[in-house]
């Protein structure tokens, strides 16, 4: 194949054509996508929605030509990008994925952006011209030798976008690009994409739960049916109005649909029992580098504290320090006598087994917590470490399986669960040992509407029942729904921040 030089009309949009197209993974019985008939004109801006399992991601990966060869799956029907098989059209299609970390390929910003051009055989001088242009287009003003590992999530996504743009694709595909970002990152990425769409004629297709982010940038909404084919197809206003209930049911954050939170029933407690107290606490992730100091905080039973603040303010570090997992740089985290219940010293000194019945920690990435080979065994890890009897363990596990709606997955391997299921499981494992305090790090991170509602409901029940909750969150809806107290870490200043009562 001849080397490709800079094409004359680089961003001319491409068309997408699907005729009774379907695909399934080899080794699976169910079809990921089936009977899809679709036509997207060059230059159209499309938002792709649908319940999980409706094959949105599969379609997008197929359009980018990265689904895998014949040994990985089989397809029926026909899928054409610009009139050609997607696998022949690599370089005409740009794909942006959900996880910022897995898209960074090289160690320096300039090199990473240049990667796509190198693969397409673009001459060296032209490569660096394109790198400059792309970085400017996404608004990333960093020197070319800036290390990519030092970028925030939003910056990494914009870097990936620049890398994609440098290839001058005719079709831009975004698969949940802002799901793993904090609000600032989401704004930055949306801004970059808006700029790109302003200056280019490329066809644009995005998948996202939060419709409000892309609503104004698209002129067409397509909803895929879980049972195959297209459920709805039309202008944003149209489709969102007609399919409102269905979309909300499938986990989409439809603008204008309120979360419908369950009723909260507070238990009657005269004085809430103090569980934990932070006294002039200074926290550091890496010994010697204090990120915040002078923290004074009280955690009481039956109340929820939300820890908020900008990126890098130390929210996760604070949560881990309160949970007895991270050494305070200065000051103390003191446990109330009744809460400590015999465990000596501050939580950081407690034995691992003592933590189980007092403080339960749910990590930002559920996968870090997975230990066992089946869901049932996973839920039993805590009780087993407490040396409870088999009968008690079984009853607790069964109760949790029911409560978390994971019964049908009891014998599945935890790693094979979906994102939402893993999140529910990680909360469940912590509940199995009935701790008095729950510490959660971004519990609604990357979750769709349904899971979000479930987590909020579950936590609400727990708080009403007397459990204390400390949650790190950049999700304003979550904080509004659950928090009794909001503790905002200032980020740049080193003094204590005011505590807000809600």
């Amino acid at each position: 194949m001849p080397t490709r030089s800079a094409t004359p009309s680089p961003d001319a949009g491409v068309s997408i054509d699907a005729r009774s197209w379907g695909w399934r993974h080899s080794g699976r019985r169910a079809w990921a996508v089936s009977d899809l008939n679709l036509r997207i004109e060059p230059g159209e801006r499309v938002l792709l929605l649908g319940a999980s399992g409706s094959g949105k991601s599969t379609l997008v990966h197929a359009l980018a030509g990265v689904l895998g060869g014949d040994e990985e799956g089989e397809y029926t029907g026909q899928l054409r990008v610009d009139g050609r098989d997607p696998r022949q059209a690599r370089g005409r299609v740009g794909l942006l994925l959900q996880d910022p970390d897995s898209q960074v390929i090289l160690a320096r910003v300039g090199d990473d952006v240049a990667f796509g051009c190198e693969n397409l055989g673009v001459p060296r001088a032209e490569i660096w011209r394109r790198v400059d242009a792309s970085l400017r287009m996404v608004g990333l003003n960093l020197p070319l030798n800036h290390p990519t590992s030092a970028l925030s999530g939003g910056q990494k996504q914009r870097l990936a976008l620049a890398g994609v743009l440098a290839m001058r694709p005719g079709l831009l595909l975004l698969d949940e690009p802002t799901a793993n970002l904090d609000p600032e990152g989401v704004r930055d990425v949306r801004g970059s994409v808006a700029r790109v769409l302003d200056q280019s004629d490329a066809t644009f297709l995005v998948i996202e739960h939060r419709v409000s982010i892309w609503q104004d940038l698209v002129n067409r909404v397509i909803v895929l049916d879980r049972d195959g084919g297209v459920l709805a197809d039309g202008t944003p206003v149209d489709v969102l109005a007609r399919q409102r209930e269905h979309l909300a049911e499938s986990g989409v954050w439809v603008p204008g649909v309120p979360p419908l939170l369950p009723e909260r029933r507070r238990g009657a407690t005269s004085t809430p029992q103090p569980l934990l107290r932070a006294e002039s606490l200074s926290i550091a992730r890496v010994p010697g580098r204090v990120v915040a100091s002078g923290i004074d905080l009280q955690i009481v039973a039956g109340a929820a504290v939300a820890i908020t603040g900008p990126n890098g303010a130390g929210k996760s570090t604070l949560a881990l320090t309160l949970a007895g997992l991270n050494q305070p740089a200065a000051g103390r985290v003191i446990a109330g006598r009744a809460f400590a219940n015999g465990a000596a010293g501050d939580p950081i000194r407690w034995k691992s087994r003592d933590l189980l019945t007092r403080i339960g920690t749910v990590f930002q990435d559920p996968e870090h917590q997975l230990i066992a080979a089946t869901v049932r065994a996973e839920l039993a890890v805590g009780p087993r470490a407490l040396r409870l009897t088999d009968a008690v363990i079984t009853s607790r596990v069964d109760e949790l399986l029911g409560r978390l709606r994971l019964d049908h997955l009891a014998d599945a391997h935890p790693f094979t669960l979906s994102g939402g299921e893993k999140r529910r499981l990680s909360v469940g494992t912590v509940l199995a040992t009935r701790p008095g305090l729950l510490v959660l790090d971004e519990p609604t991170f990357g979750q769709d509407f349904r899971t979000w509602r479930e987590i909020v409901r579950l936590l609400g029940e727990l708080i009403d029942g007397g459990t204390a909750v400390v949650a790190v969150s950049h999700d304003t809806d979550f904080v509004a729904a659950l928090a009794d107290v909001e503790y905002r870490l200032p980020g740049t200043e080193r003094s204590a921040a005011p505590v807000f009562d809600r």
Binding site: R29, S34, E72, D227
Partner: protein
């Protein structure tokens, strides 16, 4: 499910029908690299732990340093088991050796690359003997043994060229045992565990181990 005649609901391929494709895909290269890099890191940790250990074992029974050899050998076997393409064992072991050299975590300098090459070849030859089609447990053990033999030959030539015949014999036996257990058996168990987590869904090694869902 949509009941159109063209879409069947039975699993499509059985093991014997799947055409064997020996060309490396991008995912093969990247995951092999990751296995290699992770193993290289473990090599470094293993080096730091075993060097003093080796010094301790020496006076007690000669040649038994070979027992520690397995820690250096599993990269190739694991890579071969997971990727199942020609050259997988060689590439993974070589990359692991390169990584351990670059991180400065070994005492042997660039000759570790030679070790990586021969050890990788040791495992590779076993997989090749089975035509890259058989990945049962005993093949994994044999690959570990093959790597162990290669390790002995290389080490005796490069680092213990003045050694007596009895030393060499014991070293060989110890390396083979270590290769079989650490490199062969552990790698095979790791493969099975990995397949069950679904992490290997893009690989034949993952699909062959799990039933169709």
């Amino acid at each position: 499910m949509h009941a159109t005649p063209t879409l069947s609901t039975s699993p499509i391929r059985s093991k014997s029908q799947a055409p064997r494709n020996f060309r490396w895909r991008v995912v093969d290269i990247v995951v092999a690299s990751i296995i290699g890099v992770a193993s290289g890191l473990i090599f470094v940790l293993w080096n730091q732990a075993s060097n003093p250990l080796g010094g301790l074992l020496t006076p007690i029974l000669p040649g038994l340093q070979g027992l520690l050899g397995g820690g250096w050998l599993f990269a190739g076997v694991l890579g071969g088991l997971i990727i199942r393409k020609p050259g997988a064992a060689l590439y993974t072991e070589l990359l692991a050796a390169l990584v351990s050299t670059l991180i400065g975590g070994n005492a042997w300098g660039p000759l570790v690359l030679v070790s990586g090459l021969t050890q990788g070849l040791g495992a590779e030859l076993v997989f090749a003997l089975f035509l890259y089609g058989n990945y049962r447990a005993y093949v994994a053990l044999l690959a570990g043994a093959g790597a162990g033999i290669a390790l002995t030959i290389t080490d005796l030539l490069l680092w213990y060229p003045g050694a007596s015949a009895s030393f060499a014999g014991i070293y060989l036996a110890a390396s083979i045992i270590s290769g079989v257990i650490v490199a062969g058996l552990l790698s095979w168990l790791a493969l099975r565990g990995l397949a069950r987590t679904g992490a290997l869904s893009r690989f034949a090694s993952g699909r062959d181990t799990r039933a169709a869902v």
